[in-house]
Amino acid sequence: MSWYRDNIYLRKEDRVHHVNILIILCLFFIIKIYLLFFYEPNLTKVDQGLLEETKKVFVIERDTRKSKKYNKQKSFTSSNKYKTEYQKGNSNQKSWEKKNTQKQKVKKTQTYSLFQFDPNKISQDSMLLLGISKYAASNILKYRAKGGKLTAEKLKSIYGIDEVTINRITPYIDIKKNKPTKTYTNNSETNKQYQQKKYKNKYTRKTPSIIEINTADTTVWKSLPGIGKTYSKMIVNFRSKLGGFFHVDQVSECYGIPDSVFVKIKPFLVIDTSKIKKRNINEMNSDALKSHPYVNWRKANHIVKYRDMHGNYATMNDLYKLHGLSKKYIDTLKIYFDVNEK
């Protein structure tokens, strides 16, 4: 006790000094905290227009860098494959080199001939003659086979044609309007009639009743028009992944449900949002987060990394600190996730 009195005890005038020091400290820290936490220095010196322009340039460069990196990885893996093949004892090297030189030769000797053509009729060989790449030519063929009609405008949207070739060949496009041919029409009609008869014999559908979409199981879903075994399963799966619907329109988001079906069933749907299951965002790893339909891997990683760095989320409002997630998106996340288990 006497040690304490000799070393810690302050006389009255000393106490006054120390309290003064405390007040100075208090004022200093108030100023410092204001400067560090809240004071936002003016950026009037810097040209804001220049900043915005550089930002645009940087964003473009970022994308090119990504694509370059991707290409590098690709080439790396292919060379690795080649290496391992080589080690197995096959002397593929020479043949591989031959292929390479041939390719280069082809590229060098390629000359383009230009002539008038109709993109809806032209064959693959003549397309190659025009200078369209093999890949693009096959794409055009596929497009035509699916029943698409090509115009000069649509040709641009074909995957694999670069602008140079488009500019070269557009003056030579010559499209003749054809009357639609009528073949197979009779056949298809008979098919439809046949099928309709078949179904009529099999099913007699129950009259649909109004259902609650957050509790309905597959059998209940099946009672709706246009929904069968697979669709009902898909919807229930989607719901379980989500944790529940908060709006009727979400049913249409389920992958594979056609709009026509949804329009049919919409009048029968009723929702009870209290049935939504909330999950604890602090206990989920990125894989678990990813499995939620609204969270892709990028966002999942973002959320998890932020949590690793700054500790658990105290409230859901902490998510607003994450940049790259819009406010609207976080509002939807708030519906499905919570910081505490419920």
Partner: protein, 715 residues
């Protein structure tokens, strides 16, 4: 009876007004650094305590129990402020800090606040202004791409860069220097690797008022030195000593200075500020009138000189500290003669720590304060031992006593940080302090008379000779036998015990009393207490050393270091060490990975073992297939496998390093192992592929880059 009671105060506290405040503030800083308290709690803690103490103090009077409580409360509040000081420096507590933007690629706008460092790739420090259009704050370490060969930014430029902010890399090797921790104490916790050409100048030279002139003066002075001094070493020493510009110092020169114990001369610090102050005060002494106006004029000139010198040398913490101390000193001597040096030290330390509590963990801060305390305390006692008769002898003896006194409190910490001790510190210390005065003075003269035709040439010529002598002395001391004791390793615990021993001995000596004094004012309790503390410290030191030897020499172990240039593996067996390493390893980089742990283990003998050769050494043996048998476990080094030959069908541990990238991932189909260790020389992408393969076969993986060093202990 009450008046005769022995006072057991450690010091005469009222004599040192701010010392107690400083001590409690430091306790607060230490608490705040070890426990990760949130800003809100510490802020409310400090605020509530402040208000409570002020109210209590208002109503309490007289020497009662309550007064005791109030004085304790006051010190508790100071502790709370210490915690708060460090809490608000942590990036996660600052709402405007840029670290809230990670992860992701962003455009970052910031001001360059440090000279560009050019080693392998150009690096600098950025004071962040904006991230992705939002105002942010904080310091960021910036590395430019190696492809960007020509980068010419200067201090004060505002630039925009694009890239991904990542945390600084931690050194996971045991007992070794952690650069990320060093950066953390400089308020830098993140770094950015700028991709090729993803940087652009936004605005040129935006330094504010005093800094722009300081920068211009520094640039001009550097130009003068570059023109006048042809020799590279001359230029490096002169620009480092006079201007604090250290980029031109070669590794060889630095090593010579550090081994002889004169390295503090190269870094601008209190010594240099003191010398400059001394030179100017001698010049001002020529004005012989003692009116009040002249005194004020002298004070103002000296203050101007110190602070402008601080700004010119780049305002590094060491110079800032010295300048602050000198200004306090000047004020102290101006207003009151014979001001107390200890309270000066305490006051300057307190002010510095309030501004930046991380200074406490800077080695430079610890060194300079320990050196100053020990000079102030021991120097007069040492110089009293011998009384020189001649004037020159007296001056020389004071220099010797200063350099000896400084080492008393500095040597434990210098061994702790650098693991070596310069033997001829007195020689190098005296020579360097003596010559530094002239080098600084002549350097200033050279700068002033540079434009004068004949005089400038003469001064430059003399200056070159002086520098030649100085560097010659340093290299000469290095040539002497046993110029430094290398490889001494002490732990933090034993360093603290050594300090306690030194302080308690110091205290005991100061308590010595004559018989007269003993009858009037006995202090036997203090003496007994310090005896007890001394014995406890001695026992603690011995106990620490016993534990250390048990950990090191008593343990046989195999360790794989975290080193991304190749693989380094050490096997310790008693006092001998065997090393297995890949061919081309940069011996400079090994310093930061293995050498400290080797020192810790205290191994004397060392051998380099080559794989693929038969050998048998005590507790392990190798064979020609790249296998190592250690402690009953079979290690297979994939770098030694040749695919044409037959390789062993099974092993207990498979070690992969960067030379094994040829190995197909399906290698594990033909080979069974108990564990796979992936060296940190393998990239993340490749390591992940290996991990997948291993997970398929449910083989445990240890990736050194992520999981830290691999350590196998055997009793």
């Amino acid at each position: 009876m009450k008046n005769n009671r022995e006072k057991i105060s450690l010091l005469n506290w009222p004599k040192f007004p701010l010392l107690r405040v400083l001590l409690f503030f430091i306790i607060g800083i230490l608490i705040g650094n070890t426990y990760n308290l949130s800003c809100r709690t510490s802020l409310s803690f400090a605020g509530v305590l402040t208000v409570f103490t002020i109210i209590c103090n208002h109503y309490v009077s007289g020497k009662r129990l309550l007064a005791n409580v109030v004085s304790l409360l006051i010190f508790l509040t100071i502790v709370a402020y210490g915690i708060l000081a460090i809490c608000i420096q942590k990036p996660q507590n600052q709402p405007l800090h840029y670290s809230h933007h990670i992860p992701g690629e962003y455009m970052i706008v910031g001001r360059i606040i440090e000279d560009l460092k050019k080693s392998k790739s150009v690096s600098t420090l950025l004071d962040v202004i904006q991230v992705d259009g939002k105002i942010s704050k904080g310091k960021l370490l910036l590395y430019f791409n190696k492809k960007d060969s020509i980068i010419e930014y200067t201090v004060g430029d505002i630039i925009a860069v694009d890239g991904r902010i990542i945390p600084t890399f931690k050194n996971k090797n045991p007992k070794s220097f952690d650069y990320s921790r060093y950066l953390k104490y400089n308020k830098i916790e993140y770094q950015i690797f700028v991709p090729h050409q993803a940087h652009i100048l936004i605005k040129n030279r935006t330094l504010n008022f005093p800094y722009n002139y300081a920068y211009d003066i520094r640039k001009w002075a550097l130009g003068v030195f570059q023109r006048r001094l042809s020799d590279e070493q001359h230029l490096a020493t002169a620009s480092a000593m006079v201007l604090g510009y250290r980029e031109t110092i070669s590794k060889e020169l630095y090593a010579a200075f550090s081994e002889t114990g004169a390295v503090h001369i190269l870094a601008v610090s209190g010594l240099h500020v003191g010398i400059i102050c001394l030179i100017f005060s001698l010049l001002l002494g020529l004005i012989k009138s003692d009116t009040k106006k002249v005194k004020w004029f002298k004070l103002l000139v000296l203050l101007m000189v110190t602070w402008s010198y601080t700004l010119i040398t780049g305002a590094t913490p060491a110079v800032l500290r010295a300048a602050l101390m000198f200004s306090f000193f000047l004020f102290g001597t101006f207003f009151r003669d014979g001001s107390n040096t200890y309270s000066l030290l305490a006051t300057s330390a307190l002010v510095l720590l309030i501004f930046n509590p991380y200074y406490l963990f800077h080695a430079g801060f610890q060194f300079s304060y320990l050196a100053l305390i020990s000079i102030v305390y021991f120097q007069p006692k040492i110089s009293n031992i011998y009384n020189a008769k001649s004037k020159v002898g007296h001056k020389l003896w004071t220099l010797v006593s200063v350099s000896f006194a400084a080492q008393i409190l500095v040597f434990p910490i210098s061994i702790f940080y650098f693991h070596k001790f310069p033997t001829y510190f007195i020689l190098s210390g005296v020579a360097s302090v003596f010559l530094a005065t002239f080098i600084l003075g002549l350097g200033l003269l050279l700068l002033i008379f540079d434009q004068v035709p004949v005089l400038g040439d003469i001064i430059a010529c003399v200056y070159q000779y002086l520098l030649d002598v100085f560097i010659g002395i340093v290299y000469g001391i290095k040539l002497l036998p046993f110029h430094s004791i290398d490889g001494v390793w002490i732990s933090l615990g034993s360093m603290i015990w050594i300090y306690i021993i030194i302080v308690s001995v110091m205290y005991l000596v100061s308590l010595a009393q004559t018989k007269m004094e003993e009858t009037i004012k006995p202090n036997y309790i203090k003496r007994r207490a310090s005896h007890i503390i001394l014995t406890i410290a001695l026992v603690g030191l011995v106990y620490n050393n016993i534990i250390k030897t048990q950990q090191t020499i008593g343990n046989n172990q195999l360790i794989m270091y975290d080193y991304n240039g190749g693989s380094i593996i050490d096997i310790f067996n008693g006092k001998s060490r065997y090393t297995i390493q890949s061919d081309n390893i940069d011996s400079n980089k090994v310093k930061f990975t293995a050498s400290d742990y080797r020192l810790f283990m205290g191994s004397n003998k060392n051998d380099i073992i080559e794989l693929n050769k038969k050998s048998n050494k005590g507790n392990f043996c190798t064979d020609q297939n790249g296998q190592l048998l250690y402690n009953g476990a079979k290690f297979l080094f994939a770098s030694a496998i040749k695919m044409q030959d037959s390789f062993p069908q099974n092993s207990d541990v498979l070690v992969l390093s960067h030379q094994t990238e040829i190995l197909p991932y399906s290698f594990l189909d033909y080979h069974t192992t108990g564990k796979v260790i992936i060296d940190s020389s393998i990239s993340y992408a490749n390591a992940n592929k290996w991990k997948k393969e291993c997970n398929k076969r449910s083989v445990p993986v240890h990736y050194i880059r992520e999981d830290g060093v691999y350590l196998l202990l055997t009793e």
